[in-house]
């Protein structure tokens, strides 16, 4: 085994230590008093139906504010969301999960999990390294295995008359795809769900608990790096260990941070998109029947389901005090970048609040806009299309077993976490 000093010693302890420094706020709890002045994306009402809240804000107060999380802003118009996404000079990506913790300024410009937490000019090179593995052509090679796995999942459920499509189907598909790409053992899937929960849904947990979860993630990644150092192979982990940026190998934090990003960002986002799409089809028999009858319409339908149920909301940090969109922002304020709200702006989309399954022109922002366009968008689209294709082929008739039993995730990634469907 070649000695690689970058990963020597207690690497996972260093990773955890590095990611735990930053500014912390005491959590503000209790119900939202007014969404325009006290919004909270962790509130149960937001998880249950954010669209009604966003539509109301868009009309009366296009940029909402909150003192929670140490202060933050929420634009709801497409044009404002786009303006922020394009403005990396005034809005930093150093922290992208709006919570009571802002990562250390010392982590800039890479941030903890490059390139999503990176700002220009560092961002460009860090992203460029990853692009070839995620092109549509590269992803197309993974389609047969994804399709076979979708069938395998449904085979395993036999002739059940009720299936929890979130727990027993949707979540497993992206877990398998990304763990194959990173070269992690497929049986580790259940552990990944815990990591995702800590990073993205754990923002309402006490901070020490959330950081423990993040520590467990880096401990896992560290073990995977060691295994890949000892046994290099053709996967993204070995690729990152060997990759160079400006003639130098990546530092250990960059390698582990990017691996963590790919693992976490690749899972619950697509899991949410598959779940939300099946939820929609379960409740809209007309759309479901049309897709069963016209499978060729599926790629168009996928875009509309992504628009209407965009799973991902991002966050930015305001760099310096400024007046923006008619409000006074302070440096280090959060900016919650709601692509779901942008996607339902009637100024940008006709019949914005309806799912128009054959919408021909659909310039939605589900994968973001600007330099941080979702790296995994081609992977996500392939997984979503194949997951729906296989499901509709195997179970063309299904409905919600119990609408009240459906639960939705809290936080910046929205999708069903329990979705019992009645088959037949």
């Amino acid at each position: 085994m070649t000695v690689d000093d970058r990963f020597a010693g207690d690497a996972d302890e260093r990773f955890t230590d590095r990611t735990s420094h930053g500014r912390r706020n005491e959590p503000t709890i209790g119900p939202v008093t007014d969404w325009a002045t006290d919004f909270d994306h962790l509130d149960d009402a937001w998880a249950a139906d954010p669209y009604e809240i966003q539509d109301d804000l868009r009309q009366r107060c296009p940029v909402a504010h909150t003192d929670r999380f140490g202060g933050g802003w929420l634009p709801t118009r497409y044009e404002d969301v786009a303006a922020v996404a394009y403005d990396s000079d005034r809005f930093s990506s150093r922290s992208v999960v709006m919570s009571n913790f802002r990562s250390d300024v010392a982590l800039a410009p890479a941030g903890g999990t490059p390139p999503i937490t990176s700002d220009p000019p560092f961002h460009h090179g860090a992203r460029k390294l990853l692009l070839p593995a995620f092109t549509r052509t590269a992803i197309a090679a993974l389609e047969p295995a994804t399709r076979a796995y979708c069938h395998e999942l449904l085979d395993g459920l036999g002739g059940s008359s009720e299936i929890d499509a979130a727990v027993d189907y949707a979540q497993h598909i992206p877990m398998r795809a990304i763990s194959d790409m990173l070269g992690f053992p497929p049986e580790d899937g259940p552990e990944f769900a815990g990591f995702v929960a800590s990073v993205l849904e754990g923002i309402n947990l006490p901070l020490t608990e959330r950081l423990e979860g993040i520590g467990a993630l880096f401990h896992y990644l560290s073990a995977q790096i060691d295994d890949h150092l000892a046994h290099p192979r053709e996967d993204l982990t070995s690729y990152l260990i060997d990759a160079e940026l400006d003639g130098e190998k990546l530092d250990a934090f960059h390698v582990a941070g990017t691996m963590g990003l790919l693992l976490v960002a690749g899972i619950d986002t697509t899991w949410s998109a598959i779940g939300a799409s099946l939820w929609h089809l379960a409740g809209h028999p007309g759309d479901r029947e049309r897709l069963v009858a016209e499978p060729a319409l599926l790629p168009t339908a996928v875009e509309e389901l992504l628009r209407a149920y965009a799973p991902v909301t991002m966050a930015r940090l305001v760099r310096e005090d400024m007046t923006w969109g008619g409000v006074e922002m302070k440096g280090e304020d959060w900016l919650l970048l709601s692509f779901p709200a942008a996607n339902r702006d009637p100024a940008q989309f006709e019949r914005a609040d309806e799912v128009v399954i054959d919408r021909e022109v659909n310039r939605h922002a589900a994968f973001g806009l600007g330099i941080h366009r979702c790296l995994g968008s081609h992977l996500a689209r392939m997984e979503l299309r194949v997951a729906l294709e296989v499901w509709l082929e195997r179970h063309p008739t299904f409905s919600l077993a119990d609408p009240d039993a459906v639960t939705w995730s809290h936080g910046q990634v929205r999708g069903p976490r329990r979705l019992p469907l009645k088959i037949g």
Partner: protein
């Protein structure tokens, strides 16, 4: 009709080469560009137009 993908605006969403692979191609990093100098044969304008109108970054210029 002629189309042109502006590389300064393209972010690699890939909608153009997904919807109209006969007129647009992907490079090794997923960024789009026009094929055949961007010339769209008569009668096929609609498909090129739809691809352009689906670009989230509005990176495709269309010349009639």
């Amino acid at each position: 009709m002629k189309v042109h993908v502006d590389p300064a605006r393209c972010q690699g969403h890939g909608r153009c080469y997904d919807l109209a692979p006969q007129f647009f191609a992907s490079d090794d990093e997923g960024y789009g560009s026009e094929r055949n100098g961007g010339v769209i044969p008569d009668g096929q304008e609609h498909e090129a137009q739809v691809a352009a109108m689906n670009c989230p970054e509005m990176a495709i210029d269309v010349e009639q």
